[in-house]
Every structure is written in C-alpha cells, then in structure tokens.
Amino acid sequence: MRALLTHEVGSLAKPGWRVRAYQEVAATEADVDEARRWGRRLDVPGHEELVELLQRGPVPRERRDEIRRWSSLYAVRLLESAGLDVVYDGEQQRSEMYDWAVSHTEGFERRGSVRSFDNKYYSKAAVVGPVSLRRPFHDDEFAYVRSVAKTDLKVPITGAYTIADWSFDEWYDRTTDLSRPLWERRADRRRARRDLVLGVARQVIRPNLESLIGLGARWIQIDEPGASTEPDELDLVCESFNASVEGLQATFSTHLCFSDYHLFFPAIEKMNGCRQFCVGFANYDSRELGTHAEQRPGYAVIAKFRDLPYRPILGVGVLDIHSDFIEPPELVRDRVLYAVDVFDDPARIHVTPDCGLRTRSWEVAYQKLRNMVAGVEMARRAIGV
C-alpha cells in the first residue's frame, strides 16, 4: 500500500432527497437544488435524471432502490473528488451501521431508540433467539459501488463485538433475579456474552466476509467502535475479530474510536489478523500547529500501536468529526508528520478522519477531506515519499 494512503472511515450524511424519498414525501426545492448542485460539482454522470425523478413528487416505493444507488454514486464521487486514495460510498445504501446489520440478521427485534450522545439517538434491538445470517447483506451494495468507483475500495462492515454490545440480550442471558449471588450472576453474564459475541462473529460476520471476498472485495474494515465499552472484555473483542477473519484471503482492518485507547493494550497484541488499525485521535488533540509531542497531545498513545508485535499499519485520525472546524492542511500535515516521526516508517501510516463524517454536512465533510488530502501531500513532500 502507498505510504500515507488516504481513505475515509465509513459513513457520510444522507442527502435530504435520499431521506425524503424514504419518508415517502416529496423532495423540497432545497433538496432538488442540492441534488443538482452536487451533481454538477462532482460531475455525477446523468444526475439530471435524478433531478427529474425528484421533481415529480414523492418517489414511488418501487423506485427507492434507484434513490439509494444515486446516493451511493454521489458519495463515491464526493470521496473521489476530495482526492482520497481509497473510497467506499459513505454507507449510503444502509439505514445505519448497526440497524442495517441487525435488520438483515435472524434473532434480533427492534426495541426502540436510546441516546448515544448530545441529542443523538440510535435504534436499539434485542437478541431474542439464536443469531444467524439471513443472506449476505453487503453484496448488492459492494457490487454496485465496484461498478461505479474509479479508485480502490475498502468495505466497512460492523463488527461482531459492536453488534452484540449495542444490542440488548434477551436470549443468551435470560435471568433477571438479582437476589442470586453476584458471583453466579457474573459467571452467567460472561458465558452468555461470549456465546452471543462469538455467535455473531461466526454466524453473521464471517459468512458476510466470505461472500464479499467471493465478489472480489480485497480490503474489508471491521468496525468496532464498541470495542472498549467493557475493558474486561477486550480479549473477547480480539477473539471475535480473529474468529471472523481467520483463514480468509483479504486485507482486514478495524476501526476504533472515542475510547481511552490505552485500555486496548496489551489485549490487542493477540489481534494478529488485523493489518491496519484506523483510530480517531483528532477529537483529543489541540489545534495548535507543530510536530512535537506537547503540541500533539491527542496522539500520545500511538507508540503503543507502533510496538504491536505483528507491526500493523495505523490509520491516523486527523479530522474531528464532531466539529465543523475545517482543519487547515498545515494542521493535518503536522499531525501526520508527528505520527511518521513516532513510527519512523511512513509505510505504516495511513491518514483518515477520526470516524465516519455522517454528523457533518456534505460541504463541511468535503472541505475537511480536501484539506486532509492537501495536508497529506504537504507531509509527503516534507518527508520525500
């Protein structure tokens, strides 16, 4: 892989016209204008057809798939136009990273929405029976994205531990009697948790991976934003990752975010099926320019990733995805140069946003990504790669 390779992490916001189509209401004038404007700006082939479709009123249910694909195409073009080396489609064809997975998996039932942060909520499901894959649920999306993308692809999929952690368990651990001895309840919880997580890894994630690889996927990112939720379960995170990928022929990476990353060590020393860790750091960093440790407090932990025995690549998060602040290229450059200095090997550094950019507008996401690419170019020139 190219030194200082740039890619995105996963999600982009859904355009208003895409959201409206699924709400079965007509696109607003602003939505139509957005479709036209971004279509021209990103040079999306045939975008006038989408504009016409949107102008006709609510999109009929039978044409929703077209809307999903348009949305996917726009996102691919946005990421390519920003100059990224590796792209996907901003997860435009999925409802959401968790909901999409559980909606296509046997054994889950929706329970309602719960708060994630600020006033953002997500829809949470419960495991109500043995989990199994209904049918691979990223194949259609991958086939489409591959047919339209001009650059290399990395497929993000939600990992087993995160799916399990973000779900209620009403099947593997069904007891509610709090008068039982604590040691007994804890032992039951550990056993149930392991059964659930490894069940998802083996019965849901692995067959999805096999199917994607069969279709030609070469790089698959297994997202585990929930990985550090229970610090005493990090061995289980690693075990589930390895169980998902062991023996499969592709490049596998993972994405971690918004955690105390120190917690991951030494547990992830066993995660030797992982070729790259894509990790958010900018959220914790200062906006001051500079390549010294005191100017880069958000990146203090990266030496631990450097020292992992299987020498993975680190995808360094350089864009704060929870802020509209547009990181100047110089700030990206300095964050990258700091990481290169710590690793002493630019081939082991990739550059990414902290996480998916779905909480930002497309304008903000686009500017951030363009500046990220510009900053990486500055860093490449500075170190001569």
């Binding site: 709090l178 001895p181 959220n283």
Partner: protein, 281 residues
C-alpha cells in the same frame, strides 16, 4: 422542540403519578449529559471532546477547565417544574472532579467544584422545592476510589450538606459498592444508593444508620424484572441491612432504555416497593 420536551416531561410525570412514586424526577430530559448544563453555565468550563460514559454505548463531552474555576453565571435547576416532592439530580463531587480535564490536583478541584457549582446548585434546587438532592456517583462504582481521597470527598459532601434544606443521597452505580461500604456508610449524607445489579445484597452489612437507596432493577437491560422477584430482593435487603429508611430505585439512570421499557421498570419498582410497604404496615 420546547413543545416536544414539554410533552415528554408531561408523559414522564403522568407515568410517575400512575405508578404512585413518592418522589418525582424530571429524567434530566433537557440535559445532554450529566455535566453539560453545569458546564455551560460556568465561564471557566467548556464542553470538550466526547468520552465514553463508563461501560455504556453513550458519550459525554469532557468538561474542560480554562484557567481557574469561577462561580457560575446562573445555575440550571433540574426538575423545578415538577409536582412536589421532587428529586434534583446532580453529579457527585468525586465524579465531577474526575471527569474534568485538568492537570491540577483533583481533590483540590473537587473542593472548588463543590463550593462554586454543586453546593449553589443543590441549594437553589432545595429553595425551588426539591426534597431530595440525588448525587450520581458511578466513578467510585466503576473505577474505585483511592484511600487518600476519602477525607476530601467527605469534606466536599459536608460542604454540600451544610444548611441544605433537602435530603442528600449519594448513589454509587456501575460497580460493586461492597469494598467501599464501610466508608460510604460514614459519609455525611442522608442515604447511600447501591447498585444491586453489581453488588450482592448479602454484602451490605447490617444495622445501617443511613438510609439505603436500593437500585433494584437493571436500568441497562431490556428484560423487565418481575414484581415478585424485585419485592423479594427488597425484602432481603431490608432484612440484612435494617436501614432506618429504604428507598427503591433503578440501579442507575434510565437513559439507556427505550422509553416504554423504562416505564415498565419504573412501574415494577413502584409496585414492589408498595408491596413491601403493605407488609411492613
């Protein structure tokens, strides 16, 4: 947005009224996290990056201290629009001081946070009719507390309790309170809350002189406990601890459950407590 919040609060009050709870609470519906309104009201604090809320798929914005801590410009009054008697929920001084990003001495910061933020907020709440000030303390449950921190923590609670015209409750959640109960039971508060999902009731010890707030249903699981088993748990707690007052509550905040499930848990708590009360009567 205001109408939506008002409707949610109205529904929450109605739920509590139907369940015949003894105290109303507002669910902190307008609070983005347990610190934010306090942070926003203080010129020397700002909301920083997201950090995980203990072992939950939920995040709060890390309070960041800019310069020296100053008094607040105006304090949020959680729950003042509720029917009386109502409970005001605030972060515990220990939790708050550990959550703030600072290079300074956290115990010194705890004293300042208590004096400048929490004590005025608690007094304002009491003046507005709060009968109970409920301090959430998941830090000790989850991370523990260093032995040398107890004196500062006790001093902070004393500052909070001083002249407060409301009952003061410290609720330890997200962990086993047993290793700390000896000290917790000597704190200058009116009652100690215990998370009975993570704490074995057998470890509570007997002859409590403080009130005991029993976290008797799991606010992080969707399976709803039965009234029978919850009442039995409370019965066991009462027999073991023999506290002068026993309160029944969920083991932690209910924000991690979809509203209909949370409502069922509230009802279970109320019915189980009601059953026990009938037995005692």
């Amino acid at each position: 947005m205001d109408r939506a919040f008002a409707q949610d609060l109205s529904d929450l009050v109605e739920l509590q009224r139907r369940a015949r709870l003894d105290y109303y609470w507002d669910g902190l519906l307008r609070w983005q996290d347990l610190f934010r309104p306090l942070v926003d009201a203080n010129p020397s604090l700002q909301a920083g990056g997201l950090a995980r809320w203990f072992d939950n798929n939920a995040f709060y914005r890390t309070p960041q201290l800019v310069g020296r801590l100053e008094p607040s410009d105006g304090l949020p009054l959680p729950g003042q629009e509720l029917p009386r008697p109502w409970v005001a929920t605030l972060p515990s001084p220990y939790l708050f001081s550990r959550a703030i990003e600072t290079d300074g001495d956290p115990n010194q910061l705890m004293e300042e946070v208590t004096e400048l933020l929490l004590a005025p907020a608690a007094r304002s709440a009491a003046a507005a009719g709060a009968a109970v000030v409920h301090l959430q303390e998941p830090w000790i449950g989850f991370h523990g507390i260093e032995p040398e921190d107890w004196p500062s923590f006790e001093a902070a609670l004393r500052t909070l309790a001083n002249g407060l015209e409301a009952r003061l409750v410290l609720h330890v959640a997200y962990g086993d309170a047993a290793p700390y109960l000896d000290r917790l039971r000597r704190l200058p508060v009116d009652a100690i809350g215990v998370d009975l999902v993570e704490t074995d009731y057998r470890s509570l010890g007997g002859e409590w002189t403080l009130g005991l707030v029993a976290g008797c249903v799991d606010a992080r699981r969707s399976l709803v406990e039965s009234v029978d088993e919850t009442a039995e748990l409370l019965r066991q707690v009462a027999e073991v601890a023999r506290p002068p007052a026993l309160f029944a509550v969920p083991n932690s905040e209910l924000a991690f459950l979809p509203a209909p499930i949370a409502a069922r848990k509230v009802t279970v708590v109320a019915e189980a407590a009601g059953r026990l009360r009938e037995e005692v009567a």
